[in-house]
């Protein structure tokens, strides 16, 4: 079991369930939330609760984070083994998408949900129109809320409901069945494909909707007593601050978990920092206990054996801090103006080793000498019998696996092909590439993951940039740029691996032996 405490950030249902689940197991839990009134049930008294606070700094790495919480003019310092971000997402109503402004009769979906939870009787409301997914695509979370609301409006309040949409987002558990139930209850769905409703807001705040029914091709109009506008699920402002403070990669909307399959289900780019529920930008209503369970499981696994090779900064560091800036896992800290690797956080990707201008960062298997030795030295051949020496640097997560699959599937590779497996394409340094050419390679391939699929997030981008730099250098020096090629491959692309290497061999055969060798 993980020794040390877990700091949970948040106050919503995810944070509560997370805390309860961890306390159940006897873990030590701290909760920090901006919410001044937050409290847990009395059986959870072992938890330390810091209300009215925000995380303002955090140093260290998994197992040993030192954080600062600030609030009400005070600062609280503490340590935690791991952090769980369980903040609730924000909502933004799409009034402007439909040219509308909020009024008593034009409300957001959240407004309606609140009314339904309160005392509202909808006594003067006969017709309610829901506008969803007409300008930008909606999602199953929003549709589920709309359908639940319309079911209640139809059956409990005898309100006629209409849902105007483009694509009905039923890709959530039980939503197709729920959709059928709302229709049986009387909800009318009007779908738009190649037309759009005209939405007019009158001076008195009332609304008229003019549209063509696409099936009957009839012109129709609706005058609802109330109009409900759909919403986008967005990261809260605090989530953005947390991403900044903790050095977390975000997705395109700004949620503190990048859109990368290696982060499935609750991981971030940093070991010991996990995301739960809405902080991970869910797209469909996720099972709350499932998400909590996953975080609990990963916290248990954190202490599990870690046999990865770790980077090590040797003597001769020029203190340029390139390694500190490049580390995708934030595993390097600065102590007395000197970078220092925090081994528990290091994932052994080698990005730091490749970027170090002093070449003093070591990682097992990545030393330039060792890589050079793997390339068979031979006298360049000429003429008809030319067999090109090809060095393929393969990312161990993608291309190296594709190579294995291709070999299993019976593909034959070029005779002069030498595979050099690297932990990440971002660990392929300029020196690696030059040493391959110096050791008689006629062509060098850098096989990386697809953009957005790199475990080290940008390792493949660094590889691509290095190849471009060397390509520029080659072309200035009058050397064939075609001898260095970057390609993206996934671990399951056996056929494409075989095609890539044989195509490259053909190209190099046509070019003839390299003049760069000894």
């Amino acid at each position: 079991m993980l020794s040390g405490k877990t700091l949970i950030l948040g106050s919503g249902p995810y944070a509560r369930d997370m805390a309860a689940s961890l306390l159940d197991r006897g873990d030590k839990v701290m909760i920090a939330t901006e919410d001044d009134t937050f409290d847990l049930p009395s059986e959870a008294e072992q938890a330390e609760i810091f209300t009215g606070t925000k995380l303002t700094s955090c140093r260290g790495s998994v197992g040993d984070f030192a954080f600062t919480l600030s609030g009400n003019g005070e600062k609280i310092y503490g340590t935690a083994a791991s952090l769980v971000i369980a903040e609730e997402a924000g909502r933004k109503a799409n009034f402007s998408h439909y040219g509308l402004s909020r009024s008593d009769r034009i409300i957001s979906l959240s407004d309606l949900v609140k009314l339904l939870a309160g005392e509202e009787t909808f006594s003067h409301v006969r017709k309610i129109v829901f506008l969803t997914g007409l300008k930008i695509e909606s999602n199953p979370i929003v549709l589920e809320e709309i359908m639940e609301a319309s079911l209640r409006l139809q059956s409990d309040f005898k309100v006629q409901t209409y849902v105007l949409t483009k694509n009905l987002k039923v890709a959530g558990n039980g939503l197709e069945a729920l959709y059928r139930r709302t229709r049986e209850a009387g909800t009318v769905y009007i779908k738009f494909t190649d037309t759009m409703p005209e939405i007019r807001q009158e001076e008195d705040g009332s609304l008229i909707l003019l549209f063509t029914d696409e099936i009957m091709r009839e012109k129709l109009s609706l005058r609802p007593d109330m109009t409900v506008v759909d919403e986008r699920v967005l990261p809260s402002e605090y989530m953005g601050e947390l991403a900044e403070i903790l050095g977390l990669d975000t997705d395109e909307k700004g949620f503190p978990q990048s859109d990368n399959v290696h982060r499935i289900p609750v991981f971030t780019n940093r070991k010991g920092i996990l995301v739960a529920g809405e902080s991970g930008n869910m797209l469909s209503p996720v099972n709350l206990p499932a998400d909590v369970g996953n975080v609990a499981l990963r916290l248990r696994a954190e202490k599990a054996d870690d046999s990865l090779d770790k980077a090590d900064i040797g003597p001769g560091c020029a203190r340029c801090l390139s390694c500190y800036r490049v580390c995708p896992y934030r595993a390097i800290r600065i102590i007395r103006n000197k970078p220092e690797i925090m081994p528990p956080a290091c994932e052994g990707c080698g990005l730091c080793a490749a970027i170090c201008p002093a070449c003093v960062i070591m990682l097992a298997g990545l030393a330039h000498k060792e890589v050079s030795e793997e390339i068979p030295a031979s006298v360049p051949q000429k003429g008809e019998n030319f067999i090109p020496h090809i060095v393929a640097f393969c990312c161990s997560r993608s291309a190296a696996r594709a190579e294995e699959l291709a070999a299993e599937a019976g593909y034959t590779f070029p005779r002069g092909l030498k595979i050099v497996e690297v932990p990440c394409a971002g660990s392929i340094s300029h020196d690696h590439i030059f040493s391959a050419f110096r050791n008689n390679a006629d062509g060098v391939l850098m096989l990386t993951c697809h953009e957005g699929n790199c475990h080290s997030e940008y390792g493949n981008i660094y590889a691509k940039n290095r190849a471009e730099q060397i390509g520029d250098f080659f072309s200035e020096a009058g050397f064939e740029t075609e001898r260095l090629l970057v390609k993206t491959l996934a671990s399951n692309m056996a056929k494409e691996f075989a095609d890539t290497v044989s195509c490259f061999e053909k190209q190099i055969s046509e070019l003839g032996p390299s003049r760069l060798g000894k």
Partner: protein, 344 residues
């Protein structure tokens, strides 16, 4: 030697994932798969990256498979099925039978059921002519074709099709069949494959027949806008399919804007078949005394048995991994309670 053991039934992405999650925490895992290879449906899927990764998750399965095979706490039994299950003193005793008839008993503390799904058999939708016409295939067959050959060709003559049509919701959202669910993954699978084909075989014209386009992926808005430029989206589900003399397929459907039936000829028809409850669901539910829901999929968990992945209902690879993590967590909590109970 692990002091607790879990039997994982099913070696697809959910089973593999749960096995790894447990093994890494020191639990002994016996992974039982009835087929002759691990990986399930998902391992047959193609990488659908165009210029960038599109997060289909197909590569995740490859990684899980490798991790499972490498882990010393996991033992794998292929070609094996569970025949009988008894429980006594808090432990399960499972009788496992191999295809060759060999049978043995496995003692275990808990069970994870990850038997996956059965793809809807489109022969049950006769008008589409699946199996009658060579050039009518399923989305799963297209996944396999793209994985094995990189490009798409017509089964009848191995020529590259110029016009491809995808038909969505075959066996999903269908009240006549009683399949009142959206299979969740088919829009993503079909549109990602469509864009991949457009990148590799740019001359191909692709039509997408659908009821609604479902949201998939965090960058769906961007993806969908790009897809609409490359793929013709038709909101209609074709009625009948006929074969032409040169193995083309005449598809007829109702055109709303023209208010009439229109016919169009395609070289290849791809049926996006739905996710339905696994073939063995009834058997297993009797054998394990497990309940099923009104859609016919398994319920989440019962005393010592935890369900994971598409055995619970349609889900993506990412969701299956999360579902497996949850089942593993529940199983661990269950084992902890048992351990405490044993220790008194």
């Amino acid at each position: 030697m692990p002091d607790k053991n879990v039997l994982v039934i099913g070696g697809g992405v959910a089973g593999l994932s749960a096995a790894i999650d447990l093994a890494r925490l020191g639990v002994g895992v016996e992974l039982v798969e009835k087929a002759d290879a691990l990986g399930g449906h998902a391992r047959q899927f193609s990488c659908k990256a165009t210029e960038k990764c599109v997060r289909c998750g197909a590569c995740v399965v490859e990684e899980k498979l490798r991790d499972a095979l490498e882990h010393s706490n996991i033992s794998v039994s292929l070609n094996s099925e569970i025949q009988k299950l008894t429980k006594s003193g808090g432990r399960f005793s499972a009788e496992l039978q191999k295809k060759d008839g060999e049978s043995r008993t496995s003692e275990t503390d808990a069970i994870i059921l990850a038997t996956g799904f059965r793809a809807f058999d489109p022969e049950n939708k006769k008008p589409y002519g699946y199996k009658l016409f060579d050039n009518v295939i399923t989305n799963l067959e297209l996944e396999r074709m793209l994985r094995e050959k990189s490009i798409v060709s017509r089964p009848s003559d191995q020529q590259m099709p110029k016009k491809i049509a995808f038909v969505q919701c075959v066996g999903s959202r269908d009240s006549k069949l009683g399949n009142l669910w959206c299979s969740k993954i088919c829009c993503g699978s079909a549109l990602r494959m469509a864009r991949l084909i457009k990148m590799r075989q740019a001359e191909t014209e692709i039509t997408f027949f659908h009821i609604d386009v479902q949201t998939f992926g965090r960058d769906f808005q961007t993806f969908y806008e790009a897809a609409q430029n490359e793929v013709r989206m038709v909101r209609a589900i074709p009625g009948d399919v006929f074969k032409t003399d040169d193995d083309g397929l005449k598809v007829s459907c109702f055109d709303n804007s023209a208010q009439e039936n229109v016919d169009e000829i395609f070289d290849l028809l791809v049926l996006s078949v739905g996710i339905t409850p696994g073939r063995d669901t009834k058997n297993l539910s009797a054998l394990l005394n497990l309940k099923t829901t009104d859609t016919g999929f398994f319920e989440a968990s019962q005393e010592g048995i935890f369900t994971a992945g598409a055995a619970l209902g349609p889900m993506s690879i990412a969701e299956a991994v999360a579902s497996a993590g949850y089942a593993a967590c529940e199983a661990l909590n269950y084992l902890d309670i048992q351990k405490n109970w044993e220790l008194g």
